[in-house]
Amino acid sequence: MFTVFGVPSPALFGQLLLGLINGSFYAILSLGLAVIFGLLNIINFTHGALYMMGAFVAWMLLNYAGIGYWWALGLAPIIVGVFGVVLEKVLIARLYKLDHLYGLLLTFGLALIIQGIFRNQYGVSGLPYAIPPELAGGQRIAIGSTPIMFLPNYRGWVIVASAVVCFATWFVIEKTKLGSYLRAATENPTLVQAFGVNVPLMITLTYGFGVALAGFAGVLAAPIYSVNPNMGGDIIIVVFAVVVIGGMGSILGAILTGFGLGLVEGLTKVFYPEASATVIFVIMVLVLLVKPAGLFGRSA
């Protein structure tokens, strides 16, 4: 064991790992928000509720249908995504010509309704969801005979899975033909439509994809945090701060800021625990003062 500024290494790396885990969830969730905001101009307040829904769908699949974690990892995002498509078609699509504020109010109201339904049905004490047996246990990481930290397998998996999903999303949006339609429609939907592209369909599918990401994050979170109707409301406020810091609508910004702020939060827990709950908001204020469009945002 060694110490860094008087902090024993397992404590330091343990908190950094925790920070990276939180950062993984910030990154996936803020990525979905950024994609949705870019194309739809909607600040999607239902995002936290749909993340919670992803975790609950995984729990329900297991307890009502006997469908385990790995299938749920694929099925729950699809179910949440389809739910999102219905929301977009039936409700959100009516607001595109109005001010942002209406979209925010509608999605905030929907979030409260969705949370309320789950709270009514399942209470607030939280439901257990076991780590899949393939990922139980953990690794002792050491350099020579010096122990560095203990890494639970499932937590390592969460970081890798989020990083892969974030990279894949970034790649599709920035480097493929499909992504070029998305970027162009984000800039000028009328013109893309005038070239013969079905932009309303693209918007619907983008919303579905964005919330499917939230559902995916929910399944990843289920074995770590207890499956709880309030889990979305707790995390979404921080995620909005992450999006503001990274810059609204910036894909890479959302990913890097998500992971980065998770780490900053972890470090704060080690060196000044009292500030760990507020550090992200302090950073948000500072960034807004210096770069109002966010670290990676393009100013309008």
């Binding site: 800039e187 009328t190 013109l191 439509q193 005038a194 070239f195 013969g196 592209v197 079905n198 932009v199």
Partner: protein
């Protein structure tokens, strides 16, 4: 109805049915009524200009044809199909390519992504190689960000990208605006080549000296309607009248 008969000009005898026939077209920006019964037609293979002062309704006419004006009424027929109630994506799919006045180059796309963005709507479009041959600058700068190009190159990109789609009718809204004379000449030569390849072109212009070098006929637009039609061969004879229309 005698009134209807005077509104729609019959196609000149001896030519095929018009490719684009506009009749009694009206359009609004919110509450403001901009087009008041535009009527004109374009025959296959023709280059036709809309001349007129700022605010006469030329750009609005182009937007109405491609279907991006929210409120429009009257008749726009392309190749016999009534498009007045169609969504713009379906109008484009009939084979109409649109180059907006502000060019509409996407800054988050590279030059080559901009070039290949519009989907192919009909067979027989130009290949990327043929477009590069037409506009060599686009090949050299294929990897640049779209909006890093000069104004002239952006205009070439805006025209080039709709040639790929197989569109047969091109709507060019002020392609020469703000460009250096040498670039204007290049665009003029391009329009001539496209005409010789069978494209039909509607051109909005303020500069009738340029229009004269490329067009077959000129429609004069005033206050949201067509007030005169001048064949290109008669342009010099009507130069005083045209000065009066354009206020130059």
């Amino acid at each position: 109805m005698p009134e209807a008969a005077t509104m729609s000009r019959p196609a000149p005898s001896g030519t095929a049915a018009p490719l684009l026939a506009i009749d009694g077209l009206e359009a609004w920006y919110g509450e403001s009524h901009v087009l008041h019964g535009m009527s004109f037609h374009v025959n296959p293979g023709e280059v036709v200009t809309l001349l007129g002062r700022n605010g006469a309704g030329k750009t609005t006419t182009m937007k109405s044809i491609i279907g991006i004006m929210g409120r429009r009424r009257g008749s726009v027929r392309y190749d016999g199909v009534e498009t007045i109630a169609m969504a713009s994506r379906n109008i484009a799919r009939l084979g109409i390519g649109y180059v907006p006045e502000e060019r509409g180059i996407f800054s988050s796309l590279s030059v080559s992504e901009n070039l290949t963005l519009p989907p192919q709507v009909k067979p027989g479009g130009l290949s990327v190689e043929q477009i590069h041959e037409l506009f060599p600058n686009l090949k050299e700068r294929a990897g640049s960000q779209g909006t890093k190009l000069s104004g002239g190159e952006q205009q070439m990109l805006a025209i080039g990208r709709i040639l790929r789609t197989g569109a047969k009718l091109l709507l060019l809204d002020e392609p020469t605006e703000g460009l250096a004379p040498v670039i204007v000449q290049q665009i003029g030569r391009t329009i001539g080549r496209l005409k010789s390849q069978g494209f039909t072109i509607v051109l909005v212009e303020q500069n009738f000296r340029f229009a004269q070098t490329v067009a077959d006929r000129h429609y004069v637009v005033e206050q949201g309607r067509v007030v005169d039609m001048i064949p290109n061969s008669d342009l010099d004879a009507n130069i005083d009248k045209l000065h009066g229309y354009l206020g130059v």
